[in-house]
């Protein structure tokens, strides 16, 4: 049948058993290993992202524990200085790059189409590609570490320490090429989120009815599109400095400080990239447990966007101690104070939601409440370091380490754990155990605060970060012992979560489609959802399609049972960017190995470049182009070819 048969029926239909069977036949992929490797189902990749990110969280956590043992007392010799350098560098980059952003991508990849009432992401194959190359980039950097060539200059990798003269091993080259591959992954993912958000929402889901989680992710995705090139470029230039004698960051005619500019132009927005989607998780999930809509939807959305935009104007506050001019100090210090305002807006919105709601003290709620407290504390220490004079005292001390952990564990990890309690039932059909969940929460919360609250003091007492040991008698011993104990309690808390997921996956209570009484579309489909997500394309009439009965905001009702079936092949509806009016029907691609092969070729190209194996690099480049050509070849079944063409 031709793609655009004019007599096809597109009437609104009821979702019934025959339609579901037809859709299942169309959307379900192959079984077995080949099916596992070639699937393009977003739900599959969402789960893989989360699982992979958690494996990296465990690795980064183990690295931290080894460091904490080394620091538990003065003059310890468990680690050599070089081993310590590699451990803190790997710990930092693992947590910030390989855990914090991908885990949020996991939630978003899984939830985007479900929240938006779509059947998949806009680019299912790109979705697969961005997962695979994320995995390979992590393995690439870890391959260096396992071979004894882990990065050893901290996650922000300042030259001249990172340049060839002072760091002749391949350590930095593993990091540089690995990060370029990782940048490809996050950029591909971001493009996918942006287009899905703009073009694949359910009809009627106008831009002011979109769940906040997707606002957070799409805002962060714009941040990624604009900021990641800075760091990919910086790492590329560092690599050519090291391998081909260019002179960007060397202290000859280059500028070591240029690295810091390029790095922080990326890394400060990145802080918002790894927190805005997490804030979105809380903005969407907290109201479920307060039994009322979020207070101030519009201001929270505006604050989200404003935070990201302003996030591009504060990078210099990471460089207050580098001798930059006073005028720049004042400007960036002021900007850093101003950026706290939109963050505070979100905090007050959450507090008002709890205050005026009827809170249900579930484990997820505890995590979100803990998140708000930690967010506030991390914000306050952020305000302290935003003041240039204070920062010049605090820079490169444990105070900054305490601050970043309050921000990243507080805003990212607690939100992710709470989010797992909310959406794990959607992903698996089983609830996580609430009793174990409470133990999980309190162990994490107490362990975290025991570990990091004293660290503020350690920093004020003058202990610099990144020293592998310290002498007796400086007053740092007791606080370090407490931090080490706290770190192990925190690790035990994370272990409890893993145990809970492992046990509940098989033996948890059955969840049903909507265990929490949620307001958004993902709760309208079964748990776990069928491969096609929704039997009919829902038509949305409000922000809370599933709460319309009890809220009764307007007379209009969303239509969840009657709508377009779109069962003439793999199909998705495209809607207009602002009003979400139906615009076209897109044909979606079948399962394919092309994304996996392209990711493999790109990674092999990176490895060949690392080894200066130029024949190999040429071959892998050609293979990469071949995989892309197969991937992009126009298909009649996807409506990409003229109706008249004889193919």
């Amino acid at each position: 049948m031709a793609v655009a048969d004019s007599d096809r029926s597109l009437e609104l239909q009821q979702s019934g058993a025959p339609a579901r069977e037809r859709l299942a036949r169309i959307w379900e992929g192959e079984a077995g290993l080949r099916g596992w490797l070639s699937t393009v189902d977003h739900k599959e990749y969402g789960k893989r992202y989360i699982a992979t990110a958690f494996i990296f969280l465990i690795l980064g956590g183990l690295e931290a524990l080894v460091m904490r043992v080394q620091l538990a007392g003065p003059n310890k010799t468990l680690l050599t200085p070089e081993q310590y350098n590699q451990l803190f560098s790997m710990h930092g980059l693992t947590m910030i790059f390989l855990y914090a952003q991908p885990v949020l991508s996991g939630f978003s990849v899984y939830l985007f189409p479900l929240l938006l009432g779509a059947r998949d992401m806009a680019f299912p194959r790109l979705n697969a590609f961005s997962y695979w190359i994320y995995l390979f980039s992590g393995l690439f950097i870890y391959a260096g570490f396992v071979l004894g060539y882990g990065p050893n200059d901290g996650w922000f990798n300042y030259p001249p320490y990172a340049s060839m003269r002072y760091n002749p091993g391949p350590n930095m080259d593993f990091y540089a090429i690995g990060m370029i591959l990782f940048g490809v992954s996050s950029t591909a993912g971001a493009a996918n989120f942006v287009v899905t958000f703009l073009r694949a929402r359910a009809p009627g889901m106008s831009i002011n009815r979109v769940p906040i989680l997707t606002w957070g992710t799409v805002t962060a995705s714009f941040g990624i599109l604009f900021s990641v090139p800075a760091v990919s470029l910086a790492f590329f230039l560092l690599w050519t400095d090291r391998q081909f004698g260019t002179d960007f960051f060397n202290s000859g005619q280059g500028q070591p400080l240029l690295w810091q500019h390029l790095f922080w132009i990326f890394a400060h927005p990145w802080v918002y990239v790894v927190v805005l989607p997490a804030m979105g998780i809380v903005s969407d999930a907290l109201p479920i447990f307060c039994r009322r809509p979020l207070v101030g939807y519009t201001v929270v959305v505006l604050a989200t966007v404003a935070t990201m935009v302003m996030g591009f104007g504060v990078w210099l506050h990471h460089m207050f101690a580098t001798g930059i001019p006073y005028l720049a100090l004042s400007f960036f210090s002021a900007a850093s104070f101003v950026i706290t305002i939109p963050s505070a807006v979100a905090v007050f919105a959450w507090i008002a939601t709890i205050w005026t709601g009827r809170p249900v003290l579930s484990t997820a709620f505890l995590f979100f409440a803990g998140f708000i407290v930690m967010f506030t504390l991390g914000g306050v220490s952020g305000v302290m370091t935003a003041a240039a004079p204070a920062d010049q005292q605090l820079t490169d001390t444990y105070f900054v380490v305490a601050h970043i952990h309050y921000v990243l564990i507080g805003i990212n990890v607690l939100a992710v754990m709470g989010g797992l309690y909310v959406w794990f039932p959607k992903m698996t059909g089983r609830l996580l155990d609430e009793r174990l969940g409470r133990w999980n929460f309190w162990t994490v919360f107490l362990g975290f605060n025991i570990a990091f609250l004293p660290m503020h003091w350690t920093g004020l007492a003058g202990m610099p970060r990144r020293i592998y040991t310290y002498p007796e008698g400086l007053g740092w011993t007791a606080v370090n012992v407490v931090t080490t104990i706290g770190a192990f309690i925190l690790a035990a808390g994370v272990l409890l979560l893993l145990v809970n997921m492992y046990v509940s996956r098989r033996h948890g209570a059955a969840a049903g489609p909507d265990p929490w009484g949620g307001p958004t579309l993902e709760w309208a489909t079964t748990s776990p959802p069928p491969t096609y997500n929704f039997a009919v394309i829902p038509a949305v009439a409000s922000r809370h399609p599933l709460w319309e009965g009890s809220l009764d905001e307007s007379g209009e009702r969303s239509s969840l049972q009657r709508g377009m079936i779109l069962d003439d092949g793999k199909e998705m509806l495209t809607t207009t960017a602002l009003d979400a009016e139906p615009d076209a029907i897109q044909k979606m691609p079948p399962d394919t190995l092309a994304p996996l092969l392209a990711a493999l070729a790109a990674t092999a190209l990176g490895a060949a470049a690392l080894l200066h194996a130029w024949i190999g690099a040429t071959i892998f480049t050609l293979l990469l182009f071949a995989a892309l050509l197969v991937w992009l070849w126009p298909q009649r079944a996807m409506g990409q070819i003229s109706e008249q063409a004889h193919v």
Binding site: A122, L225, L233, Q253, D583, A584, K587, G639, Q640, V647
Partner: protein, 196 residues
């Protein structure tokens, strides 16, 4: 929305409606940022070191005509896309072929220009900035040329008509973007030394 209106929805890749068109817009955003950071590097050095950092008064002998060649190629791509929208398949293939040819000529002249330079990649930060920035751009021209080649092939296979030529529109968008980027590089490396 009424059933009648739904029945008229276009199916498949029609006009600028496909996801791919929007995806290319995000590519333009992120690649545009990449070049902004490359030029930031140039201006950062100029601010730090002043005019003496630039080792030669850059000659427009090759770069000037080459800029015209690249802009002309954009015009031919534009003509090819217009022809596709009017259903003129021969003009569409011809436009793509000429644009591709002009792209290759641009690359060849760039190689000549590279040979002419009195400095090298490793002879200081100006040389590094010059060769890396123009090198990045040439890599983008190569990718754009490969896109044009693929689209030309599909055009000759008769894949495109009035409605369905998304791949052509997407490649064209990328090509125009790469040309626009060249203008910013040209302005930075070849024009600002004379006006600063």
């Amino acid at each position: 929305m009424s059933d009648e209106a739904l029945r008229r929805l276009p199916v498949g890749s029609v006009g600028h409606k496909p996801f791919g068109w929007w995806g290319m817009l995000t590519v333009v955003m992120t690649e545009g940022s990449l070049f902004a950071y490359l030029l930031f590097t140039y201006y950062y050095f100029v601010v730090q070191y002043g005019r003496i950092w630039i080792p030669e008064a850059p000659s427009l002998r090759l770069a000037g005509p080459n800029t015209v060649i690249l802009l002309l190629s954009s015009a031919f791509v534009w003509w090819a896309e217009k022809s596709a929208a009017r259903g003129k398949t021969k003009a569409q293939s011809l436009g793509l072929a000429i644009a591709l040819l002009l792209g290759v000529v641009f690359l060849a002249i760039q190689v000549l220009e590279w040979r002419d330079k009195p400095f090298t990649l490793g002879s200081g930060s100006y040389g590094s900035a010059y060769f890396i920035t123009t090198g990045f751009h040439m890599a983008h021209v190569v990718v754009g040329a490969l896109m044009l080649a693929a689209v030309l092939l599909w055009s000759l296979l008769g894949y495109f008509d009035r409605e369905r030529h998304a791949a052509l529109s997407i490649a064209a968008l990328y090509w125009h973007f790469v040309d626009l980027i060249w203008l910013t590089i040209f302005f930075t490396f070849y024009v600002t030394p004379y006006i600063g």
